[in-house]
């Protein structure tokens, strides 16, 4: 081939540059030159032989995509783009994850500081972290919906049983990936979520010696520490992504091999759309599918970026502390159902049931061999599916702190407005509005809407945990009357409409004192006189103490939708 200089002397500078650009474009697109691309974008008919098919023959990335799809599967229904979206999220997580890896060291001494370094010292660090964390949760959701869709449209049936089986494994791996990333910030949220998870491993229905060894491997030592963090980091960045990659490619290969299934009304069981697509129902990858995918890529990127910037914020609690268990430890929402199940059955049964359920899912298409994919013929299957979804949603709900084991009433009130972790109603009040003084629940302070709001929440929390014996003559509102129950040991417990453990005619206040020049101390004080013996206090507590520094920025955290304050 002539060098660029020879070309220039032969055909002049302009023509030579155009020829060169054409050549380079053709190499990059593996077969399409500039005029082919313009033709494709204009919607012209391709020339013959069709240059739009050449990339599929000559380039690796296009080679793994079919050169055309059945037009029916390119519509939103029946796929809802969920499989593609799962793949997109996988790539998204890989890219943001690699960026975060640059700033992370898997050591208990450093990891938590790394998080703050990412937030306070790395340009766009918070955005990157939010993107990765939001992406992880979206990915779990998308993959789960993908599986649900596949079941509803009956796409798991012959010949796609194995594709379904790998899909179940991919869902499991996605949840594990998301969860293994949970530990890495090494904050209280991470530490205790993993501790709950590991206590499950300990309760598996297997010989105790086996469980002990599994636990030992999973936590990298007799207790969760440096070894465990390193292990979960390696699970997160090495083992699980590798497995995910392997199963992803098998899954993807099977999807291409059998084609994407048509809507149930268009395709019988055992048929396969990949081989025989009528000429008039083909949609070519170039340019239609490609431009569609680029559009979705741009749109989803925009949504996730804006979401990470303005609407959703990755939580970061205080440093992991093995000796301080926060009140009401919860699993992440996508595992909350398992916490719900623990309220229905003993731990060992629950832990044993989950793998059985997974195996049942994997083998389901080999046993469920109904002869039709049409919705009308699958009433039983679809009913079971929707009941299962409903069951999972209810289980998830039961896993939330709403169904917690109740702590003492004054602690529950403190937890509602001043929990140990997170921004919360009181810490979320801007510093200049935390004026030192003594306040009672429900107090209205002129010119201080923030504190007034927090005190309103204080009052509602008190309302849930209090009851009255004397009808509350001093209060502008009424608590529920106390119900009394005498325990075997003679102590009397009081209840109200909401709870069996309420405070009878309590007095509570919030005390704000100046601790240092730029920091206040928030103290919640509870006094409950024993109705049986007015000399003695049932509850006399000033243990709920929180501090609020003027720079600690909780009020900005409160701007995000996923923060409770």
């Amino acid at each position: 081939m002539a060098t660029i200089f020879e070309q220039i002397s032969e055909m002049g500078l302009k023509q030579a540059l155009i020829t060169k650009a054409d050549e380079i474009t053709e190499r990059i697109t593996a077969g399409m030159n500039i005029s082919d691309i313009r033709g494709a974008l204009r919607g012209d008919e391709p020339r013959r032989p069709n240059p739009r098919l050449r990339p599929h023959a000559d380039g690796f990335w296009f080679h793994i995509r079919p050169s055309f799809y059945h037009t029916e599967v390119t519509h939103i229904y029946p796929t809802f783009r969920l499989g593609w979206l799962s793949t997109f999220m996988m790539v998204w997580e890989t890219i943001t994850g690699i960026l975060l890896m640059i700033f992370y060291t898997p050591s208990p001494l450093i990891a938590y500081g790394n998080m703050w370094n990412i937030l306070s010292n790395v340009p766009l660090g918070q955005l990157m972290r939010n993107m990765h964390r939001l992406g992880a949760e979206v990915m779990v959701l998308v993959v789960a919906l993908h599986m649900l869709r596949t079941f509803i449209t009956g796409s798991y049936k012959k010949p796609r049983q194995f594709t379904w089986a790998t899909g179940v494994i991919l869902l499991t791996l996605t949840a594990l990936l998301s969860f293994s990333g949970y530990l890495l910030p090494w904050d209280q949220l991470a530490y205790w979520a993993l501790t709950v998870f590991l206590s499950g491993a300990e309760a598996a229905p297997a010989p105790p010696a086996f469980n002990q060894n599994v636990l030992f491997i999973l936590q990298g030592g007799p207790a969760l520490g440096a070894g465990g963090l390193l292990r979960w980091y390696l699970f997160h960045v090495l083992l699980l992504p590798l497995l995910l990659g392997v199963f992803f490619f098998v899954h993807y290969y099977k999807v291409i091999l059998h084609g994407i299934s048509l809507p149930p009304s268009r395709e019988e069981i055992g048929e396969d759309t990949a081989k025989r697509v009528p000429k008039d129902e083909r949609t070519y990858f170039t340019p239609d599918i490609l431009s569609s995918e680029l559009m979705w890529t741009a749109l989803i990127t925009l949504i996730l970026t804006a979401g990470s910037l303005w609407f959703w914020d990755a939580p970061l609690e205080s440093h992991a502390d093995p000796v301080v268990t926060p009140l009401h430890v919860v699993a992440p929402w996508y595992l909350s159902w398992s916490q719900g199940w623990l309220k229905l059955a003993p731990k060992t049964i629950v832990v044993g049931f989950i793998p059985l359920l997974l195996v049942a899912f994997i083998v389901m298409p080999y046993f469920e061999v109904g002869k039709s994919r049409r919705y009308a013929d699958r009433r039983l299957g679809l009913s079971v599916a929707f009941l299962f979804v409903a069951f999972m949603l209810v289980s998830n709900w039961m896993g939330t702190p709403k169904f917690r084991v109740e702590s003492s009433p004054e602690r529950e009130v403190s937890q509602a407005i001043l929990p140990q972790e997170g921004p919360s109603y009181l810490r979320g009040v801007p510093y200049e509005f935390l004026v030192p003084g003594t306040y009672v629940p429900g107090q209205v302070i002129d010119g201080n809407p923030h504190l007034t709001r927090a005190l309103g929440v204080f009052q509602r929390a008190m309302y849930r945990q209090s009851c009255t014996l004397n009808g509350n003559p001093d209060l502008p509102f009424n608590w529920y009357p106390c119900s009394e129950e005498v325990l075997d040991n003679g102590t009397v417990v009081y209840g109200n409409h909401f709870t069996d453990n309420a405070m009878p005619d309590p007095y509570a206040e919030l005390r704000i004192t100046q601790e240092q020049e730029n920091m206040v101390r928030l103290t919640l004080i509870y006094e409950v006189v024993n109705p049986q013996n007015p000399e003695e206090f049932l509850i006399l507590s000033d243990e709920a103490v929180g501090f609020r520094h003027e720079n600690s920025l909780y009020e900005e955290e409160c701007l995000f939708l996923n923060k409770n304050c």
């Binding site: 974008l41 919607g43 925009l302 910037l309 440093h319």
Partner: protein, 295 residues
């Protein structure tokens, strides 16, 4: 397809605008989060301080109000932390006195981590057998450093021009304090109260009971042995100088052998007693008994 290309292009451009907008706000966001990191560290430190340190160093770090677990008042055996000579300036007196070469922050972190040998201050860092992780020690350090305020540092503790001997102290008039002060005869009972309040007993034990001294020399016989320590110096002058300048003379008889040099005794009494110079007379009367002379 044209619509898709248009939507995709617009979405891409919007993403770039969003990213550009985020990048523009980034410097101020980073600054905010640097403050937040520090602020939350101080909050955590405060929590640790009130649970662990306030018993000896006082609720506000001035070693003046200390409570035991039951809430009753006890003498503060710790040093002042919310204190001019620890926090103000680049090289506060405390760093000079301990010959510390690093920064204030490192000094506090080191002291919390490793404790102070020869005092009741234990090591707190888990590496040295304490209960705390490094980040917790760092949080407490930040909390202590946060006591450094303009108000504290613009008002150094009052200084007195202490004379060199008790005789001069007894007779001269101190005009630096308001109203001018002239010593009266020391009162042993008040001296005992000062001894208790200043937590001298936490190192020297009680003069009435031999062997109660944990760190420093026992002072029950100081009226006799004080006179023998330095040639030509009376017992009362020896005690007087040792209180004001602990490093001038190192006593030979601490519980664990010879007393360490530099002395672990705080050198802040010259400034502490300036608030009420009569304390000096009272404590001399308490410790020295008949060896204390007032004209």
């Amino acid at each position: 397809m044209q619509v898709k290309v248009v939507i995709g292009t617009i979405a891409f451009m919007l993403t770039m605008i969003v990213l550009g907008y985020a990048a523009l706000l980034e410097p101020s966001r980073l600054e905010h989060f640097t403050g937040a990191y520090q602020g939350r560290s101080i909050e955590q430190g405060a929590q640790i301080y009130i649970n662990n340190c306030a018993t000896c160093h006082g609720v506000d770090g001035t070693a003046e109000q200390c409570f035991d677990a039951a809430g009753s008042v006890i003498p503060c055996v710790g040093r002042k932390l919310n204190y001019y000579f620890l926090l103000c300036g680049d090289r506060p007196l405390r760093l000079e006195e301990t010959r510390w070469q690093g920064t204030k922050a490192q000094f506090i972190e080191m002291t919390v981590s490793a404790g102070r040998t020869g005092t009741v201050m234990p090591a707190w860092l888990n590496t040295f057998g304490g209960p705390m992780r490094p980040d917790q020690v760092w949080n407490v350090t930040n909390f202590v450093l946060n006591w450094e305020t303009e108000e504290l540092c613009e008002n150094p503790p009052p200084q007195l021009n202490w004379p060199e001997t008790v005789e001069e102290y007894n007779t001269m008039e101190f005009t630096e304090v308001e109203p001018p002060f002239k010593a009266e005869a020391g009162d042993p009972e008040r001296g005992a109260a000062v001894y208790e309040a200043r937590a001298c007993f936490s190192c020297h034990g009680y003069p009435e009971e031999p062997g109660t001294n944990a760190v420093g020399p026992w002072l029950g016989d100081i009226a006799d042995v004080g006179a023998t320590r330095v040639e030509g110096m009376s017992a009362q002058d020896y005690v007087y100088v040792s209180i004001l300048h602990p490093n001038d003379f190192i006593a030979p008889d601490c519980p664990d052998g010879p007393c360490p040099s530099p002395s672990t005794m705080p050198s802040t009494f010259a400034s502490d007693f300036a608030l009420n110079p009569q304390d000096m007379a009272d404590i001399l009367a308490y410790l020295l008994g008949d060896a204390y002379e007032f004209p």
